[in-house]
Subunit: 329 residues, 2 copies
């Protein structure tokens, strides 16, 4: 098989219609560059699938030691702990972070990505759930994704969500629950969380029980969520077990259930997901599937550093999870 | 009285030993400037107490619509909600935010401040607890502080912490508690939270009871905090009420108390502080003093915008607080 000719800086310059110097400045985020120029060069790199090798990078590199984080929010025990962990690890390795909240707004997310690029970052760690991801990013920038499959060449750090879904569902089945309901994102949301739902559906099927998922979007307000969970109990008064896709939803479900006069765990058993440190302090009674949030942060920073060092093939990593016993199931 | 001659751009340029153009570029964060030059100009502005007026600013202004946030962490229900709220309000008004976690590390905080300045921000909202604050910042940049008295000319947005301390302590006294202990930061930490402690000490004094405060630093680990609270119960077995300076500490105190066989509220009554939305979901039973976190965010953004618009005297704002009844006191 003929070896493909390696794409060179010259090829990118020719396609973008700019000088080699301009391409190297874009590559190394050095000097003043208009957004138009940057975009032309990034698009040419994407089209040619140009990946600068480590030596080529080092020749030009003026590292900024700045890493961008783009996540949906910081007002969440999981994302709060994750972003604090990423920040801590990056700081120890000599990087500073700049954080942008996307609020799950695709336009806002793209604006942040553009903003961070303009501010000369060495790399990007993303965990927002929006499908939109500018093509030029994928080709030209060290990126690690957390809990979200973005593009084939971008490594993903995620928990073993399928295993987590199995553990939670099996726990409720073992508790004798016959009518187990699950909550999760709508199916079109591109997150590895969907593995939790797949495991729940598979286990319910093999146990000959119906699988019912109530869909709750990430940015649904607390009041709307309470309305959804109130409707759940009205539509399925037989429910005796709930596997919630995160601990915040589990907490709200338990509040609604108590208001409706149901005793937890006597009448209703609830298993959550995440097990963030902050949640364990405030609600240690919750039975939940715990993600290794600190390890996700450590691994994500390692994968990013390998890309910054010039490594082009960095594999995704799946981390183990554990069931934390509480008293709600 | 002789009116003081107004300090002009020329004066700053002369003192800094640079051209007027350079001063205006520093003032408007435009073009390439070395850190040395920036610092010289900022120092000259600070020394002369130079405050560019709105018209002077507008003549040069090339707004970046970027606002920096520097807070200790995002892994906290209070700071998470606050930073998410600031980000949301700033976004609605056309600003993007860049966040930096200081982890209560003075060196890291200063690095972030420098970084944000280099990245051409229009203003800064800070809530970190470190005493260090570069002088040049105070003179040249629109800044709002949250819960921290930084410098006389920087407006502070804070809850009525003294009133909060009164509400919490009085609640425990009304419950019949005779041995009430408080937790708070060490006294040297420059935060308006100290008002909670003052109110507690005043109320204990007027009730002829001893005031005992266990000091817990913000960045103390969960394990260390548990050790402090275990020691609290060993040193003061008579304790029958605790006013914790935040809900996370209240949660840990209740965990430790339960492990030691104390029933809450029968043997021990606990009142927390903050009442963040995330905490209310996970631990709605906690009796706590609730800060208006969303309003803090709204007000802080308003005060910052007024400074960005050129207003030089912006007053501090104190927000009312409420006692939320739960079942822990």
């Amino acid at each position: 098989m003929e070896k493909r000719r390696q794409v060179k800086l010259e090829d990118v310059a020719a396609l973008a219609g700019v000088s080699k110097t301009t391409v190297s400045r874009v590559l190394n985020n050095r000097g003043y560059l208009s957004n138009d120029t940057k975009q032309k060069v990034h698009e040419a790199m994407a089209q040619l699938n140009y990946r600068p090798n480590a030596i080529a990078r080092q020749l030009f590199t003026q590292k900024t030691n700045l890493v961008g984080l783009v996540f949906p929010t910081v007002n969440d025990p999981f994302f709060g702990q994750l972003e604090a962990g990423l920040d801590e690890h990056l700081y120890k390795r000599g990087y500073r972070t700049l954080m942008g909240n996307s609020q799950n707004n695709p336009q806002k997310e793209e604006q942040y990505l553009q903003l961070l690029l303009n501010h000369q970052i060495d790399g990007l760690i993303i965990g927002a759930h929006n499908p939109a991801m500018p093509d030029y990013l994928e080709a030209s920038m060290p990126i690690v994704s957390i809990e979200r499959a973005v593009a084939p060449q971008i490594p993903v750090v995620a928990s073993d969500n399928y295993r987590g879904g199995q553990l939670a569902t099996q726990r409720l089945l073992d508790d004798g629950c016959r009518h187990i309901i699950h909550t999760n994102y709508p199916k079109e949301v591109m997150t590895t969380n969907q593995g939790r739902r797949e495991a729940y559906e598979d286990l319910m099927r093999t146990n000959g029980r119906p699988a019912i998922t109530y869909e709750v979007n990430y940015d649904t307000s607390v009041e709307e969520k309470k309305a959804i969970f109130t409707r759940l109990f009205a539509e399925h008064p037989e429910v005796d077990g709930i596997f919630a896709d995160n601990d915040t939803n589990a907490g709200l479900i338990i509040q609604v259930a108590k208001q409706l006069g149901r005793r937890v765990p006597a009448d209703l058993k609830v298993v959550g997901f995440d097990g963030a440190d902050g949640t364990r302090i405030l609600f240690p009674e919750l039975t939940t599937v715990q993600q290794s949030i600190n390890e996700m942060a450590t691994v994500a920073v390692e994968l990013l550093e390998r890309q910054i060092a010039g490594q082009t093939k960095v594999a995704s990593v799946t981390l183990p999870i554990t069931l934390l016993e509480g008293t709600t199931a």
